[in-house]
């Protein structure tokens, strides 16, 4: 009987390790290709260890290809701004919907829930026309303003604030703080765990977004990384060594965030994914 369990466990381990390899191979292959010379790339030999280890591919994208640092900069500016605004605005809305009494609250909440279901493709064309009318095509604000709130996280923050202990707020109210004072000075600083999970997902969403920049941005100076990477591919179609180096640079910030905030990732997903 005991031996049988041992075999079952061994099989599970085999499965776990096999799947880990399947997951890691594409990343390792891309990483190894980014350190290979073009010669080795086109020769078609399969080896995970570069024969002539070279940093030229990274030099090429950062020094020769002057746009690349610029795209990196654009992505950082947009993703960071979008994240900060989302944290602030989603929490504000979540708090109002959880704790304040005002006419129209219920229908507003239902509308926000309904908006969760609308696929982005429906609003994509009108959004383009509205941004065009505002003169916001090809601009940071065109990328930032429409994404500075997120219905999913308003909902999540509302859940968080409903479960937040009321006593703290009541004590602050007795000390003469107004509603807004209570929110900004007492409640928001204590919401840090919920904000951390939200920050990661909003940042990643903005950093990885492909369709919105594709539609809104046409000036290469303003491209974000996903768009830059795509145009880069068009330009260097058979230089897979450059393309892989650029892909690795693009992935690194996300990996760093992931390693540092791993526990919030899992929490954040189970939070939004619950029921």
């Amino acid at each position: 009987m005991k031996k049988k369990i041992g075999i079952g466990k061994a099989l599970l381990y085999v499965f776990l390790v096999a799947y880990a390899i399947i997951t890691l191979i594409p990343f390792l292959w891309a990483l190894s290709s980014s350190f290979k010379t073009l010669e080795e790339i086109v020769s078609g030999t399969i080896s995970f260890i570069p024969k002539h280890f070279t940093l030229d591919n990274y030099k090429q994208i950062f020094i020769e290809q002057k746009m690349f640092p610029r795209w990196l900069f654009n992505s950082v500016i947009i993703a960071v701004t979008v994240t900060i605004l989302n944290l602030l605005f989603n929490s504000m809305a979540g708090y109002a919907l959880a704790r304040l009494q005002f006419p129209g609250k219920k229908p507003l909440f239902i509308i926000i829930l309904a908006v969760l279901m609308i696929p982005a493709q429906v609003t994509m064309i009108p959004n383009y026309l509205i941004l065009k009318q505002l003169g916001w095509l090809n601009s940071y604000q065109g990328m930032i303003v429409p994404t500075m709130i997120n219905a999913t996280f308003i909902f999540m923050m509302r859940q968080f604030f409903i479960n937040f202990p009321k006593e703290l707020e009541e004590a602050a109210a007795l000390d003469g703080l107004s509603r807004l004072g209570i929110f900004f000075r007492i409640v928001l600083p204590l919401a840090r765990p919920a904000l951390a999970a939200q920050a990661i997902f909003v940042f990643m969403g903005s950093w990885n977004d492909f369709m919105r920049p594709l539609i809104i941005l046409s000036d290469p100076q303003l491209f974000t990384l996903p768009l830059g990477l795509n145009s880069f591919k068009g330009q260097y179609i058979s230089y897979w060594n450059y393309i892989m180096a650029a892909s690795m640079v693009f992935t690194l910030p996300v990996l760093v965030i992931y390693v540092f905030f791993n526990r919030y990732f899992i929490k954040g997903i189970s939070f939004t994914g619950g029921k």
């Binding site: 466990k9 381990y13 776990l16 799947y19 880990a20 997951t23 594409p26 990343f27 292959w29 891309a30 290709s33 399969i46 605004l85 504000m92 809305a93 109002a96 919907l97 304040l100 009494q101 005002f102 609250k105 509308i111 926000i112 908006v115 279901m117 609308i118 696929p119 493709q121 429906v122 609003t123 064309i125 009108p126 959004n127 026309l129 509205i130 303003v145 429409p146 500075m148 308003i154 107004s178 509603r179 807004l180 990885n208 492909f210 990384l225 996903p226 795509n230 068009g234 897979w240 892989m244 892909s247 693009f250 992935t251 996300v254 990996l255 992931y258 990732f265 899992i266 189970s270 994914g273």
Partner: protein
């Protein structure tokens, strides 16, 4: 007394709307307004040259969908994609989660590794897979070593969509795996103990305790999966350099909407009609799934 109450009420209302104001602004200008605008566009012919003009055409745009061969191909490709990818990624996610939940050592490490593809941007993943799908690339090399047939993954119209499917099942399953993991931790041990007393083995416990308990989560996973797969765009766009090729084999509905809206002149209204139809299909699929899973949970 009454006056102070209403003063307090006014103050609450003011604070409420002040806190809601950024949300209301974006909601009206970039979400609700555009939804109404999209329906308006679907019944109009839009000219973007110079000043934008709208000409009412009634149901023309919708009738055109029925006669558009590329639209038929796009809907067919999308449907095929949804029907294959959603069950595969759901089952894979469940199996991965159950394995990770079996109380083995090193779970945390495997969980971190498995989650990597979900973090990485679709643009990067697509480029990495295009590189591996190369005719002399890594995947064909492995297939050759294993004695399996090789494919022209990107260039052959018969396999290009499959290539995207494989990549997406691999990259999305971990996301749902984490949702399942959270739900698995909520299953009370007493259920398993009771099953054990009845003489159930590991597989029976999984099938008769775990799977039924996870039904609501599975419903959620399938709905999110449906919404996501119907919207396939980035991968087809990058794979085919925006064309949906080879021979329309990677053309999806969203890619077609993009092409008609932004790449050809005078078809923006038609693109809006396609978007409205897609939204209705997603809505129906979601509602059907809900109804189906509710009936299922009756017994």
């Amino acid at each position: 007394m009454k006056r102070t109450f209403s003063k307090k009420m006014w103050r609450e209302t003011g604070a409420g709307y002040l806190l809601m104001s950024p949300t209301l602004f974006v909601l009206l200008l970039f979400i609700i307004g555009p939804i109404v605008f999209a329906i308006f566009l679907a019944f109009h012919k839009v000219q973007l040259l110079g000043t934008t003009t709208f000409e009412f055409v009634g149901l023309d745009n919708f009738q055109r969908i029925a006669h558009d061969t590329r639209a038929k191909i796009a809907f067919w490709n999308t449907l095929k994609y949804v029907v294959i990818v959603v069950p595969c990624q759901t089952i894979l996610a469940l199996v991965l989660a159950a394995t990770l939940n079996a109380g083995l050592k090193g779970q945390k490490f495997f969980r971190i590794v498995y989650f990597l593809p979900t973090l990485t941007s679709s643009a990067v993943l697509t480029l990495i897979f295009m590189w591996m799908y190369n005719e002399n690339g890594l995947i064909n090399h492995v297939l050759k070593v294993l004695g399996l047939p090789t494919y022209n993954w990107i260039g052959d119209p018969d396999v290009a969509l499959n290539a995207i499917m494989i990549m997406n099942i691999w990259s999305t399953a971990p996301y749902f795996m984490v949702i399942y993991l959270a739900a698995l931790q909520d299953i009370p041990d007493s259920l398993y103990e009771a099953a054990e007393l009845d003489g159930a083995n590991a597989l029976q416990k999984f099938w008769y305790v775990t799977v039924p308990y996870l039904r609501p989560v599975t419903s959620f996973v399938i709905i999110v999966g449906l919404i996501g797969t119907f919207q396939l765009f980035d991968q087809s766009y990058i794979f085919s350099a925006g064309s949906g090729g080879p021979n329309n084999s990677t053309l999806t509905v969203v890619l077609l909407i993009y092409q008609y809206a932004f790449k050809t002149l005078g078809t923006m209204g038609y693109a809006a009609a396609l978007a409205v139809v897609l939204a209705i299909i997603i809505l129906i699929a979601t509602l059907l799934q809900r109804k189906f899973s509710k009936e299922e949970s009756l017994y």
